[in-house]
Symmetry: C2
Subunit: 155 residues, 2 copies
């Protein structure tokens, strides 16, 4: 998997959050993941299956950032990560992966998406169990940090 395959996920995430929640994230430098582990409080995960490849995508938010996004979308800030927040993270996961799927499909890399899963819990970590490279991309914002991670078995 090449680093350039992260870009469709990156641009899709920035687009989704700007459109849905007027939230601007600043992308950091993508890294081939070795020992780094993304930590966060609420994460959306989704599997991807295509004729040439299979893989997984995750997006992890600090609680403060997830609550800020929720506030901008609904006009009200929840006290903590509740069912509305996990539903929103699942929806963002679907939309970001769907946007990346369209962009990668234009380049001839097709895949279908499974249904998303959302994990909630203070400072959990995520490990993609994939033979291929794992690319992690950090984002910062005044409201907190996010990370996306993409892993494909081939590509």
């Amino acid at each position: 998997m090449k680093v350039e395959f992260i870009n469709p996920f990156l641009s899709s995430l920035i687009n989704v959050l700007a459109t849905m929640a007027q939230t601007e994230l600043t992308p950091g430098k993508p890294k081939i993941k070795k020992d780094e582990v993304a930590q966060g409080d609420v994460s959306g995960l989704i599997g991807m299956v295509g004729p040439q490849t299979k893989g997984s995508f995750s997006i992890t938010f600090d609680e403060s950032l997830a609550l800020a996004i929720m506030e901008r979308m609904l006009g009200e800030r929840p006290d903590s990560i509740n069912e509305e927040v996990t539903d929103m993270v699942g929806e963002i996961t679907n939309m970001v992966t769907g946007g990346a799927k369209n962009l990668l499909g234009e380049k001839g890399y097709d895949f279908e998406m499974a249904t998303p899963i959302v994990v909630s819990g203070k400072n959990h970590t995520i490990t993609h169990q994939c033979d291929g490279a794992k690319i992690i991309m950090p984002f910062t914002s005044p409201d907190g940090n996010a990370n996306i991670e993409v892993s494909f078995d081939t590509l």
Copy 2:
């Protein structure tokens, strides 16, 4: 999704743990998940995509149970959930889903598996974001508890 679709995952899990780690789990009663939330310390998740359906599977372990399984497989008990444990949970997730895939394929329900993702963190919770029913199945053992959860958009 019918409750009977949980059975291939149940029998596959019992078979995998008995074979790999001489560990016997006692299945509880499967439940259509409404408000119940499975809590655990280390979880394996995987996406599934087929021509008629898409969905997700998760298995969640108490730390004590994950460490006991590791000890039986390797002869040594890690102090905590380390990379070897997360790799093992990813492998179990793959094997259980692969076993269920074979059993469901015999009934005409085909799907391909994405790559597994492992989540580690004290008392995290998992929410499958799926329009279809979510079925949760608890297991008990002297070493700690586990839960599996299966969700398909149709079936």
